[in-house]
């Protein structure tokens, strides 16, 4: 499996960059403390869309977990891939070996998945430790985070193949920021006006948040599989797109 060699290369390159891992992990934890505990002191409880009432920290923790998976995946699949694609020409050198564009796409997406999952695992441990996870279903929060990372790394990487310069990354921020704030992350979907609600429900992070929240609060139903399907399909489409774009860009 040649995609594994792509991952191996990244492990080698990142062994010296463990600080990047630390920040990727620390950010959502800081949010958890500031929002969950800080804001939670003011807003004692929240009624979820499923109708149960929970503490604010418990409500917001799944959303932050989803966001950490998203951020971890996006960071690696955009900036780092762009650098290797346009500046370092790392991929060009790799394509002179039996590795092909599809292996590259799979390997890079898998690598961002791994990073996303590592951040999520660390975050989940902290959330459990401060008692923000109510249900044993919460154990599935980690595999769920992998689907979130899949969707975002594949789509993020696909978008990256169209970027001309680092300035274009503002578009990614432009997409990520509002999604982070308004995907029913910090308040339930029910509080949004009807028109906005449909828009929110169209975003991938919303599905990630809803999935994580269902699992970590134990509000489990078949509907959760719908979120998984959304994320998985988005991930597959993105992956196929990435592999085509890489072939187009690199094999000219």
């Amino acid at each position: 499996m040649l995609a594994a060699r792509v991952i191996e290369r990244n492990v080698l390159a990142y062994r010296r960059l463990w600080v990047a891992f630390l920040t990727g992990f620390a950010e959502p934890v800081f949010y958890l403390f500031s929002l969950g505990l800080g804001v939670g002191a003011l807003v004692h409880s929240v009624t979820t869309d499923a109708g149960t009432t929970v503490e604010y920290a418990t409500f917001v923790a799944p959303a932050l977990l989803a966001s950490s998976a998203m951020n971890g995946a996006i960071f690696d699949s955009t900036y780092n891939v762009f650098f290797k694609l346009r500046y370092a020409r790392t991929y060009e050198a790799m394509l002179a070996t039996p590795i092909g564009p599809r292996d590259l796409a799979l390997g890079e997406i898998a690598w961002s998945l791994i990073r996303g999952a590592m951040y999520s695992a660390a975050f989940l441990a902290v959330a459990v430790a401060i008692g923000a996870v109510d249900s044993w279903w919460g154990l599935l929060a980690l595999p769920a985070a992998v689907f979130i990372a899949l969707a975002f790394s594949a789509v993020g990487m696909f978008a990256t193949t169209f970027m001309r310069s680092f300035l274009d990354f503002d578009f990614i921020t432009l997409a990520i920021q509002p999604m982070f704030l308004f995907s029913a992350t910090f308040f339930p979907l029910g509080t949004y006006p009807d028109a906005l609600r449909l828009l929110v429900q169209a975003t991938p992070l919303y599905h990630g948040v809803a999935l994580e929240r269902g699992l970590m609060l134990g509000e489990v139903g078949w509907g959760l599989l719908g979120h998984v399907a959304y994320l998985a399909i988005l991930g597959m489409i993105g992956a196929v797109g990435v592999s085509r774009r890489l072939a187009r860009l690199l094999l000219s």
Binding site: E8, R9, E92, T97, P98
Partner: protein, 320 residues
């Protein structure tokens, strides 16, 4: 295995409307060293990339190891070693890791990759820099590392695109020596170069490309015999008419034209820094030039080389 390792028929590469490689026919046989010569933009690298299965063929036929790059790219590349014109080393890894991971891309076991990397570090004379990042290496060191990297998979066919550009003479000889030995082991070499001595030393057969086409092909000796005179008279003329009695360049060329214009078998080629007279008897040509009143700064009679073939075929300014 057939008797032809690389077979191209009407091989064409187009970038938009621009034709970089214009229907070339090439056959490379197992175990030979094959060269592509040509001026900048001739289409050498474009051809190499198609053979290396990293650039799709626009039209025509191409087979490498009897396989079609369009359908068997990975299988072909598994048996190739490629030293591209630009180094493209992995700047996020150390020197040793660059070699090692490349072996892994080819499916070598960790142990095997490590062992081969050791040997190649020595070959590239980079053992003491093994733990350094690639970026601070000198240009020649990077080049050596790129060549070493191409060898890690012990390829059957080695594609070297201007391998010695940027190498000092010593490193160049180390490389030539290595290439000779690889050839003795049965490795097939395809080399592009601008260095004529390199082509004469290394290549059994070569093609001269110009404007995407093949201008000539054969062994170095054949090409010289076919496209050149036996000897070359080189004259260095003064750019300005000076007081010391040398002939000014413009006047010199005129006189040479008169001297050799009417005689068959001699051709005068004017380069920015000197004038070449292709002749079968250099000393006689020099005397004839003197008789006409040409007073060069310096003159030299030498055997014709591949460089002269190259100049003849790729058409620099020609004066009759």
């Amino acid at each position: 295995m057939s008797d032809v390792l690389v077979r191209a028929r009407g091989l064409t590469k187009r970038f938009g409307d621009f034709i970089a490689v214009d229907g070339i026919d090439v056959e490379v046989r197992p175990g030979e060293a094959f060269g592509f010569l040509g001026p900048n933009g001739a289409g050498k690298s474009s051809t190499m990339k198609m053979i290396g299965c990293v650039s799709p063929v626009t039209s025509g036929e191409l087979q490498v190891f009897g396989m079609d790059p369009a359908t068997h790219g990975p299988a072909i590349r598994a048996r190739l070693g490629v030293c591209p014109q630009e180094d493209m080393l992995d700047g996020e890894l150390t020197v040793e890791e660059n070699l090692w991971i490349y072996g892994r891309y080819f499916g070598l076991s960790r142990r095997e990759a490590r062992a081969r990397a050791q040997g190649l570090l020595e070959f590239a004379q980079l053992t003491d820099r093994r733990s350094d990042r690639v970026e601070p290496l000198s240009g020649g060191m990077k080049r050596r590392l790129t060549i070493a990297r191409a060898l890690i998979s012990e390829p059957d066919l080695l594609l070297l695109d201007e391998p010695t550009t940027g190498l000092d003479p010593q490193a160049r000889h180390v490389l030539w020596d290595k290439l000779f030995r690889l050839k003795q082991q049965g490795v097939t070499l395809i080399v592009t170069t601008h260095y004529m001595d390199e082509a004469e030393q290394l290549c059994d057969r070569l093609v001269v490309m110009d404007g995407g086409r093949i201008a000539a092909q054969g062994s170095p000796r054949e090409l010289i015999e076919r496209h050149c005179s036996r000897e070359v008279l080189e004259l260095r003329l003064d750019p300005v008419v000076s007081a010391t009695g040398t002939t000014g360049a413009a006047r010199g060329v005129e006189l040479l034209g008169e001297a050799f214009g009417e005689r068959l078998g001699e051709r005068v080629e004017v380069l920015p820094d000197r004038v070449l007279v292709y002749t079968d008897d250099g000393e006689a040509a020099l005397e004839a030039a003197h008789a006409r009143g040409v007073r060069p700064i310096s003159s030299l009679v030498r055997r014709a080389s591949l460089e002269d073939v190259f100049l003849t075929l790729t058409g620099r300014t020609l004066v009759d």
